[in-house]
């Protein structure tokens, strides 16, 4: 469906050049909700904007349904863009138009007649649940409602692809979930392929079936969401997974740990982050047997993604003659994120 090969984008400005994309290769299949995750400045938006040529690639190829985007004439490009919807972090609605007018906008651009426009807008507003807001102006809507208008507008010309640039990053967690659910429904109902750019692993977890991790202008890892979650290969991917389970240790527990740290001559309180296959193994009991230490679970935070547990445990290890430390380095060696909790 979307085939990207050796895509490179260099920005040239007075202050020098920035290589925003460096040899990107991606294959996005029909019906995918394809996630692109990376830190701020990694090149995600640039990559997404190259797909509909809002940004002109410096080199490389982008094929959509077999059509080479970089070779299109301005007229052909305009036609092609009508089949590629796009939604934005800050919605980018026309403040001079009502909700109705905003959704009608792409249809006017495409030259539909009044009657068709009216029918389509009505259906679209129904689809996103905003029929009662047709006469409102964007300034009178909440963030979530604005993004629903953005989605209705993006779907107006029956696109084959929907590009989403941080579509939920300006929304609160609850609204984010409802928008993600709407996108998922649309993907299932209408079979629209989606490319979802985000810096939040939670978005990937909620709706994407495939994901590419982008770091410093390059794709460093890609695969199905399940693969990335269960066998993250790069530190970047691991960090994103970790960020999902930031385990804030409760205050009363902190006090307890402080007391423990004072009392323990040879013990450690550690925070263990674990994701993926490793969690299926009985690690703690293994360590207890192998090193003769005591393990006491103080706090836990576990989630389950597509059948695999993910989470954080706060564990107190006790052992004599450095056994606790050896147990910790063993845990690190087998691929867990182990961090000694220092409170003081």
């Amino acid at each position: 469906m979307i085939r990207i090969r050796n895509l490179t984008k260099v920005y040239t400005s007075a202050s020098g050049t920035v290589k925003a994309l460096d040899g990107i290769n991606l294959d996005i299949e029909k019906g995918d909700i394809f996630g692109i995750i990376g830190l701020s400045g990694a090149g995600k938006s640039t990559l997404l904007r190259c797909i509909n040529l809002l940004e002109k690639p410096t080199s490389g190829s982008i094929e959509i349904d077999g059509v080479e985007m970089t070779g299109l004439s301005p007229k052909e490009l305009k036609e092609m863009r009508k089949k590629i919807g796009m939604i934005f972090q800050h919605f980018n609605l026309l403040s001079s138009r009502t909700v109705w007018g905003n959704v009608a906008f792409p249809l006017e651009i495409a030259g539909f007649d009044r009657k068709t426009i009216n029918e389509k807008v009505e259906n679209l507003l129904n689809l996103v649940g905003l029929s009662d807001k047709a006469r409102s102006f964007p300034s009178q809507l909440s963030g979530g409602q604005k993004q629903r208008v953005g989605i209705a507008r993006a779907l107006a010309c029956d696109p084959k692809v929907l590009l989403c640039d941080e579509a939920t990053s300006a929304l609160d967690p609850e609204t984010t979930l409802s928008i993600l659910k709407l996108l998922k429904d649309i993907n299932e109902k209408l079979g629209i392929t989606m490319v979802v750019v985000t810096h939040e692993m939670n978005v990937i977890k909620q709706i994407c079936n495939k994901v590419a991790v982008i770091e410093k202008s390059r794709v460093v890892e890609q695969g199905t969401t399940f693969e990335i979650f269960s066998r993250p290969k790069t530190q970047t991917a691991r960090n994103f997974l970790k960020s999902m389970f930031i385990c804030e240790i409760p205050e009363e527990l902190k006090a307890k740990i402080k007391a423990l740290n004072g009392n323990l001559a040879e013990g450690r309180v550690v925070k263990i982050g674990f994701f993926g296959e490793i969690t299926a193994k009985p690690i703690l009991s293994e360590v207890v047997k192998k090193f003769g230490v005591n393990a006491n679970i103080l706090y836990g935070n576990i989630d389950n993604i597509q059948g695999t547990p993910f989470g954080t445990l706060v564990v107190q290890f006790e052992g004599k003659n450095g056994t606790a430390d050896r147990a910790l380095s063993y845990l690190q060696d087998i691929g867990l994120d182990v961090e000694v909790v220092e409170i003081g």
Binding site: L77, R81, K82, L93, L94, S139
Partner: protein
């Protein structure tokens, strides 16, 4: 007294006529000029550096010529265009020529305030540059453009006071001829009062239009 009223009335009519027609012409040419200045600028929808620089230079030249001098410099052009170089109608030519670049700059500034994201969204939907201008830029900037027309009209009231130099008549001319040259201070004061009221009216009316246009935004 009746004589004075008659004088004031016809002078007011002349000023209103000059200002109204000049505002109209300034808008008809100035707004498209502003669109061109904006859209040919670097990184804009019709980026064209040479054209942008040329237009910018011409606009700046016209804006730096003092109006009294422009009034005289344009006499041959006025004669060619309207067949005469003296009179109220003739004064409309230099007034418009002075107001067009001014309105152009104000429009350019108004368009620059339109969110880039909205323009980009339209382009992503396959809008042509022309569609972006007519369906996004101008509607989104309309309140600011209306405010620009108001400022231009008020400026033109001021400029029109100099129209007497080429026999244009109007309130300013009346004040100079009767108030200054014939020491009829009362006429001077009346004209000033009418000019103040006129400027106030334009401002209030302009503000109302701007407020109406930006309802809900």
């Amino acid at each position: 007294m009746a004589e004075t009223v008659k004088l004031l009335f016809s002078a007011t009519r002349e000023t209103v006529y000059m200002v109204a027609v000049s505002v109209l012409i300034a808008s008809i040419f100035g707004i498209p000029l502003g669109v061109l200045l904006y859209s040919t600028d670097r990184g804009r929808i019709l980026e064209n550096s040479p054209l942008n620089k040329a237009l910018g230079t011409i606009v700046n030249i016209f804006r730096s010529i003092p109006f009294v001098i422009l009034l005289i410099m344009l006499i041959p052009f006025t004669r060619w265009l309207v067949g005469k170089s003296i009179g109220t109608t003739a004064a409309i030519v230099p007034l418009s020529v002075a107001a067009i670049p001014f309105m152009g700059r104000l429009t350019e500034t108004a368009l620059r305030e339109v969110d880039r994201g909205v323009i980009e969204a339209a382009q992503a939907m396959g809008a042509s540059p022309f569609q972006v201008i007519t369906k996004v830029l101008i509607p989104e900037a309309l309140p600011s453009i209306a405010a620009g027309i108001t400022i231009t009209a008020i400026n033109l009231v001021g400029y029109s006071a100099m129209a007497g130099v080429i026999g244009g008549g109007g309130l300013g001319d009346l004040a100079v001829r009767y108030g200054y040259q014939r020491f009829m201070l009362d006429i001077m004061l009346y004209t000033v009062a009418i000019l103040v009221v006129m400027v106030q009216l334009i401002q209030v009316l302009g503000d109302l239009v701007v407020k109406y246009l930006s309802k809900h935004r």
